[in-house]
Symmetry: C2
Subunit: 339 residues, 2 copies
Amino acid sequence: MPDARLDLVNRSFKLAARPVGLPKRSDWLYDQSPVPSPAEGEVLVKVRYISLDPAMRGWMNEGKSYIRPVAIGEVMRAGGLGEVIASRDANFPVGSQVSGSFGVQAYATARGAELSRVDPSIAPLPVWLNALGMPGMTGYFGLLDVGQPKAGETVVVSAAAGAVGQVVGQVAKIIGCKVVGIAGGPEKCDFVVNELGFDACIDYKRGPIFPGLAKHCPEGVDVFFDNVGGDMLDAILARIRMRARIVICGAISQYNTTTGIQGPKNYLSLLMNRARMEGIVVFDWADRYPEAIAAISGWIADGRYGSREDIVPGLEAFPETLLKLFRGENFGKLIIEVV
Amino acid sequence: MPDARLDLVNRSFKLAARPVGLPKRSDWLYDQSPVPSPAEGEVLVKVRYISLDPAMRGWMNEGKSYIRPVAIGEVMRAGGLGEVIASRDANFPVGSQVSGSFGVQAYATARGAELSRVDPSIAPLPVWLNALGMPGMTGYFGLLDVGQPKAGETVVVSAAAGAVGQVVGQVAKIIGCKVVGIAGGPEKCDFVVNELGFDACIDYKRGPIFPGLAKHCPEGVDVFFDNVGGDMLDAILARIRMRARIVICGAISQYNTTTGIQGPKNYLSLLMNRARMEGIVVFDWADRYPEAIAAISGWIADGRYGSREDIVPGLEAFPETLLKLFRGENFGKLIIEVV
């Protein structure tokens, strides 16, 4: 039987240049090439959904980080979901639904050890890139293990309508915290309050967030889960309570700077308040992902947990779609559907 | 019998104005007034030594902090040592050697509950404002409880020849760490290496500290105990190891800024390295001071612990002497001897 794959054409975005500031179209190379055949122990995945994450901007830079940079000429790294269409690993037969680091491309080969199974009967596939994927794991462990909120405490999360923010706020509510989100625009604020059950949301596009913090966190902030950095982090630092915990998950306001990172000038509030600021990288909890997936999928099943994805069709839309993250234009977890 | 105290004249420095930048002479009011009589439950202390600390600069500012600001017209707050010369508290008879928050003055009244006994047979009096006083407590608990160094780890401390730096470095050596100090000038560096036993010291006055960090901390920094802030903190952030702990004790480089605090622009290294930055205020360990005093005085008795004080004679020298701290001109714990 002839191999139908030989007729398939892969499409991918490769890193063409290291961006200065926001990635430009010319920083990407759109490439078409034959679909590779899986080697022994590998599978071939037809990628269906590609996760777009703020962290991708960091991977495009040179230099030491928590993960090696994407090389020039390499397919851009990205998490994704797809279906095994050819298999040389008996654990993942053709038809398996899997997630993995497939890159920004339509087809990917991967070793079985690099794959996770996803179960569409638990939640629709895109949710496996959101609440049941990396953002879910990040929010769950970052909040619970590092933020260590206690029932009754006030938790604030920035980028509240984003992938990680949704998780942090909902998990914090479930364990009995007061939750205040920070998001851009009335629609996102309505969503996190009315659909996700946050206690309040501050619209940073309306002006400085400090009055909102004073109003909604009258006793101060016990846990801040920061995805944004910049002025927002400083405003929170000015309002933390004694022994507050600030979880540094990201700093999307700073990733495209061309003038240098803005350090938190109010960091001495950590001293005044005996507070802590700690960074997290989700991979550290890899052996406990099943615990978080079990918890969150249980809440989804109970109807206690909602999620929202912002799904953009078309691999070719990748360069422009990625920018939505840095402009705060995505509404929920940003995903490309490969069509 | 006539009360000889009626003949005594108190001398004090009161806060005349809130300084902008470095405190000027005109920010102080030198005052002479009759020595007060102790009320029931109080003692009158003839102050002999006054502790000069970087934190004093913060107490001169308005606004919320970990302790209320010194009011305009109030005697400047300062720790001190002295002798009880009149007593209406049977627990502290005349002749008792005591420490307390006596202020920048020659005589002070205080309640017994506000006093600690000092024992000159354990260590000379000035050491009770240094290794056995607040700096000792700060360094001991800040390092051990918050920095949590393990034997074999690399500990870096800024202002290494200062009061807190001496403690941090020596305690870290005693528990088996590699210790690198940062200090200004070859004399201070020689002192911490050759007299206090640090493994190395980087002279920040010779230029950027980064080459010294690379040389002396080839595997990176596990614990940084920061008394300085500014560029020094950023240089360390660029060189921390995974799960490093940064203890924020002070930021003397920033206390007199008139252009705004310099936030650590490399703070995202906390994320990359899953590291922690945490502030401390020594008062939180007040009920455990005896533990630290027992440990440090034991090491002093064993000859394993050295301390150095920079004692300046004359209460009247206070305004100019305080500035030595901010210019890095003190060599060891800065103390005024009231003569």
